[in-house]
Subunit: 298 residues, 4 copies
Amino acid sequence: MPTILGQNQYGKAENRVVRITRDGATHHIKDLSVSVSLSGDMDEVHYSGSNANVLPTDTTKNTVYAFAKEYGIESAEQFGIHLARHFVTSQEPIHRARIRIEEYAWERIEVPGEARHSFARRGQETRLAQITYDGERWEVVSGLKDLVVLNSTDSEFWGYVKDTYTTLPEAYDRILATEVSARWRFDWTDDEQATPDWETSYEQTRGHLLQAFADTYSLSLQQTLYQMGSRVIDNRAEIDEVRLSLPNKHHFLVDLEPFGLKNKNEVYYAADRPYGLIEATVLREGREARIPADLTNL
Amino acid sequence: MPTILGQNQYGKAENRVVRITRDGATHHIKDLSVSVSLSGDMDEVHYSGSNANVLPTDTTKNTVYAFAKEYGIESAEQFGIHLARHFVTSQEPIHRARIRIEEYAWERIEVPGEARHSFARRGQETRLAQITYDGERWEVVSGLKDLVVLNSTDSEFWGYVKDTYTTLPEAYDRILATEVSARWRFDWTDDEQATPDWETSYEQTRGHLLQAFADTYSLSLQQTLYQMGSRVIDNRAEIDEVRLSLPNKHHFLVDLEPFGLKNKNEVYYAADRPYGLIEATVLREGREARIPADLTNL
Amino acid sequence: MPTILGQNQYGKAENRVVRITRDGATHHIKDLSVSVSLSGDMDEVHYSGSNANVLPTDTTKNTVYAFAKEYGIESAEQFGIHLARHFVTSQEPIHRARIRIEEYAWERIEVPGEARHSFARRGQETRLAQITYDGERWEVVSGLKDLVVLNSTDSEFWGYVKDTYTTLPEAYDRILATEVSARWRFDWTDDEQATPDWETSYEQTRGHLLQAFADTYSLSLQQTLYQMGSRVIDNRAEIDEVRLSLPNKHHFLVDLEPFGLKNKNEVYYAADRPYGLIEATVLREGREARIPADLTNL
Amino acid sequence: MPTILGQNQYGKAENRVVRITRDGATHHIKDLSVSVSLSGDMDEVHYSGSNANVLPTDTTKNTVYAFAKEYGIESAEQFGIHLARHFVTSQEPIHRARIRIEEYAWERIEVPGEARHSFARRGQETRLAQITYDGERWEVVSGLKDLVVLNSTDSEFWGYVKDTYTTLPEAYDRILATEVSARWRFDWTDDEQATPDWETSYEQTRGHLLQAFADTYSLSLQQTLYQMGSRVIDNRAEIDEVRLSLPNKHHFLVDLEPFGLKNKNEVYYAADRPYGLIEATVLREGREARIPADLTNL
């Protein structure tokens, strides 16, 4: 046979699960979209269609909902660990499980009285978690996406290469805006290690990213990116690696001269496409990079 | 000629304008998407292609950016009033201007020190404003969309009609969730009247919608809708009419019995489609409804 | 009570139904998204939450699927007529039903042999139908959206109004491109009239829109729009009114002079936003316009 | 310094370029979205903000438009080769260039007469190409996405693992539908080799994928996937590796029994989420897999 099967994986994607916890009249909510991906002894189902080793994707969906009841959802990471461990340890043909989770945050709507069961979706960034387990070693990568930030000054761009196709004028005071997409990998890999406090770690890491973006005087988006990543590494001992993908959301100063007006960094056109795209990994010295370089492959 | 021209309008849509205002080291930001739509003596351009009466859509775009400098952006509504007045009063063939605006809210990223020019997009609801002017009368409709809210209890649904095709079991304690899309029309129609305080009005109206959603014990989404609309009419004298479009974002209780588990209103599947869609107008007595019944036409 | 209830409607939106019909080994497919919207004696459910007059939206969903079996899906329009008639005639409190349908077209994948049950989604325009019934009178509006078309020459734009804010240079040979969104209303309103052949009517109307776009030498997008609408009215006796919404999908000629290159209408930048938006109704003389002017309301 | 810089890349993404070629009154159109990503000696810009090695992303955009004039767009792949070679060979600090391209297909609108310059966008699949060059070795990965296909019979699913959480009934005649996302890697890596005929290769590969989907009697989506991939490897000598990502677009048979109706594989509910996701690589024996396993990383 001239063709062979390479890497393969399967599972149920985007299982939306909402978990309510009751503490008297006060309710708590967790809202996740969970995607399961399993690998192992799966040659036969590809070659002949025999499903003898295949746990149906429908079963993986049921497991997500059942585990939301059995274990609760303390954090996205902890929930993913329960799921990944279950698939690898309960099914002999499954050698590796990867659980990807999106989490949507809610804030409380305060009302007079004691009942506290009303919520509005925050709708800012989406929190991310990816838990991978092969029966021995854990890899946990957390992150966020869709967090749009802007500095209205303290950004320059000049001193760059000029070739035949360069027309861009240098800028000494520009808007710098981006939509942060970040992933960070934990040093926790082994059941023997103490697990990080996933909720605190997320809040702190998000805060460091925002702070570093805000207080970096920027000569290039690459410099800002590196400051954001290294701020996390410097402050969060549980994190070994950060990958950042920062689209440069261009805000062009509108030329108002034709109308006899002077635009002193006041009126901008926010463009959609094309956009600069700056991506890099920032790593704790001595550790190996493991987060893929691209957030999308084609 | 067997065919004739009916209602027509034209303009430039989705002009994204970001306006920065400087108060020393403290900056302020307004972020709008502005759509211009003009009507008037436009038969000839349709029949023969003569553009003699046509102010180019490109010019309407330039006007948006120039006015952001000339007038600033105090509020979306006030900015739309400047634009609508300009088009109708400066161009004889234009008899009616309608300005639609989406506004994206930003919150400040606090950093140590004095400089305050860093922002994160809030990303919750999108604020809306529509300003129409025909040279005599103003109509201002404000609103919001994409505001997702949820009550985890205090919602029932029973006592409904059962026909041949009814299989739904009655519910005595369910999640009620929706994505609020609201429009409200002001009683301000005339330059002789004092204009409302658009910013305060928006904040207060948004608050009343959230409060009414949260503290209504609901026997149907229609009841909740009416409470939300009438709360606004009762509390905001400047508003005559509210139109609400509330998709019922179904959260189905997952059946965990097959796994030997009891689901005591804890684990839900949040469905995308299909969804119930509840729409209604709530009106101050004696006023005429003017907001269209449908947010989309096909 | 200072507030009253205005227009209201409810139902289940976006019921996706796929209907397979078997003709021996040859299968046929219809793929619809059906939205039901009902109105009538619904004050009580808004005021007190009594559902005594409410047929659940879940029941309207079931009815869509049951009718796909009982009546089949000959055309979107005919299917909508069955549904609308059912709701209005079987439920006393319901006085008006409106059924909106999106239809997704499939083409056959040809394979050797006799079996013919493989399909690829065409993915060009989405077909639309809206059927409204109040127990006496029918209104059927069909249409399409997402049909992107382009003429690479035979388009000019000049002779327009120039005011203080005009900077646009006149164009004597430009690309004209748009994404056609069209709605057309049938003269069929009564069960006594013969119904149009809905499938033929759609194919022919779509063809006239494309032909008129392609063979109009255009001095403005408004002129092209009017030619498209009047071509339909002139050729399809069953259609009384056409509403067209045509975004001007700008293709800007890229300035290559800085690189020593001459751009003889060869290289264009296709912009997303902002875009011109041209909308108009074309009407058979003596008929009344009934299609709403706006495809979206805010 | 405890942190170091890892893999990094930058460039301008989603440059939309439309290229018209004139052959008398007959025009031809190519419509691409081109994303440039460059890597090399870029440590300094991250550490200190010095742009001395940085060719601006704006320049990479200009280059895309200039090259569309200078070289034309024979195929997406050939266009990407011109661009990648230029960046690596003209800029000393740039060691690697990756060009990603989406191509949107157009079909001709036929009109009476000789002029042929009118087009409608096909709107079915999006064609993809990724060209990577490091100064020595080429890697070309082509592909497609958004191609939705369906077999209305000849699909079964049974004989799978049943655990505590399994409730799925076995299926002996079901709809099999998916949205094909495919990438295939060429054996062309060296300027000394003859380049493939990119246009013919694409058309043929697309055809093999469709044919294999249509004429495979399927016991699992994995089996269908493997048939699709191996059909390409078996028939296209220029292709060494195929990666397929196939969401199982579930079509659930609607239970019509409560309404006294029998559903003989006629009426289906097409669900959105969750969905099964089946992914695998099919490889020519003796070759190494190089296409990443995941189309998205979180």
